[in-house]
Symmetry: C2
Subunit: 152 residues, 2 copies
């Protein structure tokens, strides 16, 4: 994607794809230490005895990285996209050290805001996949975006 987008540039069915990001063991552990201090996110050995069977990223780490991939790369909205809410956030598979993630955004809905002049609301489906093409995370999100300024 070159350039930044306004509400009017988006219509249902449009798809946008991000570049890739590598998830390192070091960042899995340091993220978990700050935000999700559970054994399967902190310790290679101890994680083997858990339902994950090995070290895996916090779901919030994967969700945050997904945000970077789509807001910073896949769908660059002029003036930014303000998150309003998320539904159907699901973690489908563990994210492992060395995994390479990318995100795809599908536009579900785009409409003018009823209450805020110059703003619009988009609903999007976001899917994050690993290097094997397996979906690791999916969610539906709503965001406030800018309408294209009118020039008279």
């Amino acid at each position: 994607m070159a350039g930044e987008l306004y509400l009017e540039d988006l219509k249902p069915g449009d798809r946008f794809r991000s570049g890739a990001a590598v998830v390192t063991a070091e960042r899995i552990v340091s993220f978990a230490r700050e935000f999700d201090p559970q054994v399967f996110h902190l310790d290679h050995e101890a994680a083997k005895t858990t339902v994950f069977g090995g070290l895996s990223a916090s779901g919030w780490h994967t969700a945050s990285l997904t945000m970077r991939l789509f807001v910073g790369e896949a769908l660059r909205m002029a003036g930014g996209a303000v998150g309003l809410g998320v539904d159907k956030l699901r973690w489908h598979k563990p994210v492992r050290p060395g995994d390479v993630l990318s995100a795809e955004v599908l536009i579900l809905e785009s409409r003018a805001s009823k209450s805020l002049a110059g703003k619009g609301v988009i609903r999007i489906q976001v899917t994050t996949v690993n290097q094997a093409g397996e979906t690791v995370l999916s969610m539906e999100a709503a965001a406030l975006v800018n309408r294209r300024p009118t020039v008279f």
Copy 2:
């Protein structure tokens, strides 16, 4: 809460409250640089001209901090809590530099897993409030937890 909890320790209607965490301007900016590089999370001055009216934390920063507050403090499950999914995640108010957040967890449902021996599933309502008692984030989450081991 002292000690760690098993599925059997939780019933619908139970409430758990975390301690408090301060959100600093420095961490708002560094988190945003890595995960949500948008102007209203990065730059005090430029943020003033946005819908936020000033620097505010990424919603994923607030969500991740909420995880820390409830998994590390409010609801310490023996062997951890594995996130299955989240619905109705809403950001109600901006989180500002200096805000002091705490989280409350309400148990909505707790039941044995149908497919995994020794495991249970809980559904919880999580609410994150600031120092003024205003709700900044709310969500419903489902997690896999451990049942209390049976000793014969």
